[in-house]
Structures are given as structure tokens and as C-alpha cells.
């Protein structure tokens, strides 16, 4: 399954958002998918406390081919922000070539030094699918498509495994929606880079 993943994989991932958005679950799924199904090492540290009453909260995930010696993420390769508070606190910590992933309706970015920024209206999409609480799964799909840090099959299987019984189909459709949005975003960037914005001649 990991055949499509980059070699020398070592990604430090920080997922931030409000308490209640399913940030930690998203982190868990990334770590589980990477270790159990992609056969890498992974660690998860979560930070919550008073934040879980609506402030920022975060999940720190490291996935690596090699043994991980230190489980905290200081400078993430991938920073996922699902709340403005999360971005304000951790935005500056991202690596210079890191990837920033945002919920575009919830986070406004002024200026940030990083490699690339990708945005998705994850919460809006989840709302359209009927359950706002699936925003984390939509984001996970988007994350998988954009970063390729975990394989599609592994993440999809882990999502089906980790969500409450009876909601698997709905959550998988949310995941696919996010994943498709990610592929479309990448495709759009490729097209633009090739100088093709619109249709035809």
C-alpha cells in the first residue's frame, strides 16, 4: 500500500482547530493509517484542556519510516488549521517549505512564510452533506489528496474503522468529497502552471 508514498518519509503534522471539531480523531486516523496500514512509525500527542470548551486544540502527529525519538512537533511540515485561533497560535511555527492547509471559510491568512497554501471549505461541504461534524473527515480527504503523506486506501479504511458504527457510508462520502476537492485543486494548479486557465484554444 505504501508503494505510492514518498521514500525517506518523515512528516511532522500539526492539526489545529476548535475543541469538538474532531481534531484529535483526525490526528488519530492519520497516525493509525500510516502505522497500521502503510507500515510506518507514527506518534500522536494531543493538546487539550480548557481548549476543549471551544478554544484551540491540536493534534501533533509524526509519521516516519524510521524510529521516532521525540514525539512533539515544533516546526510542522504540514499545518492543518480549522480555526482562526489555531492558525494565530501555530501559523508562525510552520517550516519555510511547509504546507499550510486551511478551512477557507474559518481561517483568514494575512501573511505567512511557508511553501504552499491549500484551502478547502471543509465545514461548508460537511454541512452540505448533512452533518457539520464531518468537517474533519472532509479535511482528512483533502489532506490525503494534497500531501500524499498517507495512502488513500489506508486512510479510507481507517476512517471507516474509526467513525461511529452506522455512519461509515456518510463519513466515507465526506472523505471522498474532500479527496476529490484536493485532486481538483491540484489539477487546477497544474493547469494554471501550464498557462491554461479556461477552456480551449
Amino acid at each position: 500500500m505504501s508503494s505510492t508514498l514518498p521514500s525517506n518519509l518523515h512528516k511532522e503534522i500539526l492539526i489545529t482547530g476548535f475543541g469538538g471539531q474532531g481534531i484529535v480523531l483526525a490526528g488519530q486516523i492519520v497516525g493509525k493509517a500510516s502505522s497500521l496500514l502503510d507500515h510506518n512509525e507514527s506518534t500522536l500527542t494531543q493538546s487539550y484542556g480548557p481548549e476543549s470548551r471551544g478554544g484551540y486544540c491540536s493534534a501533533q502527529v509524526i509519521i516516519s519510516e524510521k524510529t521516532i525519538h521525540y514525539p512533539y512537533v515544533r516546526h510542522p511540515d504540514i499545518l492543518v488549521c480549522m480555526s482562526q485561533g489555531g492558525f494565530d497560535k501555530y501559523g508562525a511555527s510552520i517550516k519555510a517549505d511547509g504546507t499550510l492547509i486551511l478551512d477557507q471559510d474559518l481561517v483568514k491568512v494575512e501573511e505567512v512564510k511557508c511553501g504552499d497554501i491549500f484551502a478547502i471549505p471543509a465545514t461548508r461541504i460537511a454541512e452540505e452533506l448533512g452533518r457539520k461534524m464531518m468537517a474533519n473527515i472532509v479535511m482528512l480527504g483533502f489532506f490525503t489528496a494534497i500531501t500524499g503523506a498517507v495512502s488513500l486506501e489506508a486512510t479510507r479504511a481507517t476512517v471507516a474503522d474509526s467513525v461511529p458504527k452506522g455512519t461509515e457510508a456518510l463519513n466515507l462520502s465526506a472523505f471522498n468529497k474532500g479527496y476529490d476537492f484536493g485532486l481538483a485543486t491540484l489539477k487546477g494548479r497544474r493547469k494554471k502552471a501550464a498557462g491554461k486557465k479556461g477552456v480551449g484554444a
Partner: protein
């Protein structure tokens, strides 16, 4: 080899004297040439010229008077236009425009006329026999009571309560025509099938389906009318075909299996297609419409096909296309010719399946309805899926990262009856319309499932009442304050453009028209 059949339509006035001189002197006129005297070349419509080919002519020569010597003034100029357009149609059909020729001679030019005829014979001999072959029709039976009563039962016309909701909604009735679906139904139940008013009513219906939508007993008048037309046709009566029956004639001609149609030869080079693709784009008859109406309305419905293909390419879909694509048969079905409809359907389905296609995409609401609904209903099974391009576009755009550029127009929308009413999907084009970024989008008074017809269907029954209806529709469009009418069917565009040509109403009903596919293709962007 059978003898060639060359028809010579010869104007009564100028060249006929030259022809007579040839006959009198026993000149060597090729024996295959059969001369038909006509009053003026300008009276030979495209329908008449084409009809000769439908009936198996290998070549047709139209011979008239030199410009300026036409007894009626404009005859020769009209003939030039008609011949040019018909040649274009023959090229698309793969018959070859060279099979039709126009020439002019003065009465004393008998030798040049002879030379022309001998040369034309040689040309036709080189091209060879026409591949058009249409099985002869059986002798028509009389309309029997059984045929009609079976239809009445099948469509449960007896359920009609004579409540009048249909006539109060029918756009033809509202345009002032003495026409009523329920009155017709009751007259037919009463046994007067052959009464002139009933026959007239059968051909006046637009089959737009508004009455079916309103009927509390769910009597499907459009389907009933369609089958009544079939009975009329089987029994050898003529319908009220518009344009001299040109389009029906064209479609019947397409039922010849040996025809090597060249449907896509005009396609711009930047369009990418892939013969191996499992997705096929089914274009429809737009190229024929454009050729036919070229000198009249400046219609450019082929643009819809080009923009559809560009849109598919934009989504990284490189579809197959059928060079021998035939008409889907919609207009034959709805003008009562089920036999030839089935022939066309069979040929299309065979060609599509031979290409190993799994999904057929079309941008025409009539093709969509006919392929997906009428083919199976008429007993032709499909092994492929039929998708309207709006469904495909909506699916792709919904994946995200696609947006639309601002469009500095105020839009309103003309629903196509086949998609919005008969297929019951008025929301589909609207989903896309709401994604666009125009200055404004305003619906017309009658819209969606209650929309007014563009005025004609299946190239039948065009008259002053349907014109009234079109004017009414265009006034509704203008009342929205919009300056662009978005259409979703090539025929809506043709009919409404035609109504706009009215010299008395002038600018009152004129507005820009653009197909939704074209609007999408013009403004879609990667974000």
C-alpha cells in the same frame, strides 16, 4: 450496375428553349438524364432539391436563367442560395455536394447546355451510384376504428374529465388558435378521427407537455398525439411539416445503412478526441441546422457542440466521436414516422456499441431524452449509459477548484421542454446557472416545469399562432430586464431567433441569445 438516375430541373423560360432545340436536332443528351419542367429555379426549395436525393437520384442539375434574365426578378439569386445550402447538407451526409449543380443558360445557348449535361453525366458516373436506399412503403391501410381505440386505451384517454385545465394552460390555445387538447381527445373518442379539424389539431400540438403536467387525471396528451400522428402517417396522410418537410426527408435519408456520413469533418483542430475512449460525445444535428439556415438566420448551433467538446477537454475528458453519427430520430418519432425512427435508432446503437462505448454524453435535450428514454421504450436496448453534459459538468465542477469569471450580462433562461418538463429536471440547468457570475439572473414569469415552449417541435406545425407564442415568450424574457437569453436546446435558439426577425416589432423583442454550454465554456476557470 443499375443505370444512373440524373434529374434535370429545367426552368420553363430561358434554358428550356435551348433544351428543345437540342431535342429537335436529336442531340446526344445522356439517356440517364430525366428532364422536369419547372416554372422557375427560385421555386425549387431546399426540401424539393433534397427530396430527389432521398428518392434515389444520383445527380440533380438545376438549370435556370442567367441573372438579370429571370422573369420573376429574384429567382436565380434564390436558387443560388438554395443550391449552396443543399450542397453543404450533401457534403455532411457524405453524399457529396458535387451531385448537385446549378447552371444558367440563355435560350440560344443549346450547345453549351449540351456540353454541361454531358460533363455532369461524366462527373456523376465518376462518383457512382448514390448509397441512399430507402425501402419502399407498403400500400397504406385505411384508418381503422381498432387502431384508434387501442391507442385510446393504451394512453387511457377515457380518463379525461373534460375539465379544461389543459386548454387553460395550452400555449397554442392561449396564442388564440382554435385548438384544445380535451376537445380533440373527445372528438377522437366520439369517432371523428378523419375530420379535418381533428387532423389539424393532431398536427397543431407542440407536444410541449404542459397539459400533461396540469391534467388532474394524468392523461399523457403528448404521447397520445405522437401515436395519433403515427396512425395518420401509416395511413398515408401527410403531416404539417415545416420547411417543406426538409428535415424529415433528411432523417429518412440517414436511414440508408451504406451512407458514409461525415458529421464531424468541420471540427476545429484544437479539439482533442480519442477513438479508444469509453466515453462518446453524441453531437446531434446542429451542423445540418447551421448549413440549412446559413443564409437566413446566421444560426450557429454547431458552436454548442464545439463548446461541449472544449468543456469536456477542460475536464480532461477526451471523448470518442462517431464520424457516421446519425440523427437520434427525435423529430421522426414526434412527427409520426416510427418505422424510420427505429431504423435510425438501430443504426446509431449498433455504431455506438461497435465503438465499445460505455457512456454517451450529449448536450442536446432532445438527443438526451430520445437516447435515454425513447430508445428503450421503443424496444431498442442500450448497453451504455446516457448522460446529459449538464450532469457531467455539475459533477466535475462540484469536485471543487473550478470557478467562473464574471459575465457582464443580465441573464434569463428558456427551459427546453424535453429536459425540464418531459424528463422533469428543471433544476439541472439551474444548478449550473447559479454557479455562473452574471450581473444578475432573473427568471421569466413562466419557468421551469411551467415554462412556455419556444414555439415549435419536431419541425411541424409552424404558423402565425406559434409565431404569436414566440413573440409572447420573448416579451416575457425582455420583461425580466435581462439582456441575454440563455437557451439549452439548439432548436429553442433557432425558433426564437426566427421570431426576432420580425420587421414590425423590430427591437422590441430582440435580445442576445447564448446556449448555456457556451456560457459555461466561455467563463469557466481553474481557481
Amino acid at each position: 450496375m443499375d443505370k444512373l438516375k440524373i434529374v434535370l430541373f429545367m426552368c420553363n423560360w430561358g434554358p428550356h428553349a435551348a433544351y428543345q432545340a437540342l431535342q429537335d436536332s436529336g442531340a446526344d443528351i445522356p439517356a440517364e438524364v430525366r428532364m422536369i419542367r419547372i416554372p422557375c429555379t427560385g421555386r425549387m426549395s431546399k426540401a424539393l432539391l433534397f427530396r430527389a436525393f432521398e428518392m434515389g437520384a444520383d445527380g440533380v442539375a438545376l438549370v435556370g436563367c442567367e441573372p438579370g434574365t429571370c422573369r420573376y426578378g429574384s429567382g436565380t439569386a434564390v436558387a443560388e442560395g438554395n443550391v449552396e445550402d443543399t450542397r453543404g447538407i450533401l457534403d455532411l451526409l457524405g453524399l457529396g455536394g458535387d451531385r448537385l449543380r446549378l447552371a444558367m443558360f440563355l435560350p440560344e445557348e443549346s450547345q453549351p447546355l449540351l456540353a454541361f449535361l454531358q460533363d455532369f453525366y461524366k462527373v456523376i458516373e465518376t462518383i457512382g451510384k448514390s448509397p441512399v436506399s430507402i425501402p419502399p412503403r407498403e400500400a397504406p391501410p385505411a384508418v381503422t376504428r381498432e387502431m384508434v381505440s387501442q391507442l385510446l386505451t393504451t394512453h387511457d384517454i377515457y380518463a379525461c374529465q373534460d375539465c379544461g385545465k389543459c386548454s387553460s394552460a395550452c400555449p397554442v390555445t392561449l396564442a388564440g388558435k382554435p385548438f384544445s387538447p380535451r376537445a380533440m381527445a373527445n372528438a377522437i373518442i366520439g369517432g371523428s378521427v378523419a375530420a379535418p379539424e381533428v387532423v389539424n389539431d393532431v398536427w397543431s400540438c407542440l407536444t410541449c407537455g404542459l397539459c400533461y403536467d396540469r391534467c388532474p387525471s394524468a392523461v399523457d396528451f403528448p404521447d397520445f398525439i405522437r401515436d395519433m400522428r403515427h396512425i395518420q402517417k401509416v395511413c398515408g396522410r401527410t403531416g404539417h411539416e415545416a420547411h417543406g418537410g426538409f428535415f424529415q426527408s433528411l432523417m429518412r435519408t440517414m436511414t440508408s445503412p451504406d451512407l458514409k456520413i461525415r458529421h464531424w469533418q468541420w471540427l476545429p483542430e484544437d479539439i482533442q478526441t480519442d477513438p479508444q475512449s469509453k466515453t462518446l460525445f453524441f453531437g446531434g444535428c446542429a451542423p445540418y441546422f447551421d448549413t440549412y439556415f446559413k443564409s437566413h438566420l446566421g444560426v450557429q448551433t454547431s458552436g454548442i457542440l464545439v463548446d461541449s467538446l472544449r468543456l469536456l477537454n477542460f475536464f480532461d475528458i477526451y471523448p470518442a466521436i462517431l464520424s457516421g453519427e446519425r440523427c437520434c430520430g427525435h423529430d421522426l418519432l414526434w412527427s409520426g414516422d416510427q418505422e424510420n425512427f427505429r431504423r435510425l435508432a438501430q443504426l446509431n446503437v449498433e455504431a455506438i456499441e461497435a465503438a465499445g462505448v460505455e457512456e454517451v454524453v450529449t448536450a442536446c435535450p432532445e438527443c438526451y431524452r430520445t437516447l435515454s428514454h425513447d430508445y428503450p421504450e421503443q424496444g431498442i436496448e442500450l448497453k451504455f449509459k446516457v448522460t446529459h453534459i449538464y450532469d457531467l459538468a455539475e459533477r466535475e465542477i462540484d469536485k471543487g477548484a473550478i470557478g467562473f469569471e464574471k459575465l457582464d450580462r443580465n441573464l434569463t433562461f428558456q427551459d427546453p421542454c424535453r429536459l425540464s418538463r418531459l424528463e422533469g429536471r428543471p433544476d439541472l440547468p439551474r444548478k449550473l446557472l447559479h454557479r455562473l457570475q452574471p450581473e444578475s439572473f432573473t427568471e421569466m414569469k413562466d419557468r421551469g416545469i411551467s415554462a412556455l415552449c419556444c414555439g415549435n417541435c419536431a419541425w411541424t406545425g409552424c404558423d402565425s399562432y406559434t409565431k404569436t407564442l414566440q413573440v409572447k415568450r420573448l416579451r416575457q424574457a425582455r420583461e425580466t430586464g435581462s439582456n441575454m437569453l440563455v437557451t439549452a436546446c439548439p432548436k429553442c435558439q433557432i425558433h426564437l431567433r426566427c421570431a426576432m426577425e420580425d420587421p414590425f416589432l423590430g427591437d422590441e423583442i430582440k435580445m442576445e441569445i447564448m446556449d448555456l454550454t457556451t456560457v459555461l465554456a466561455k467563463t469557466i476557470r481553474w481557481e
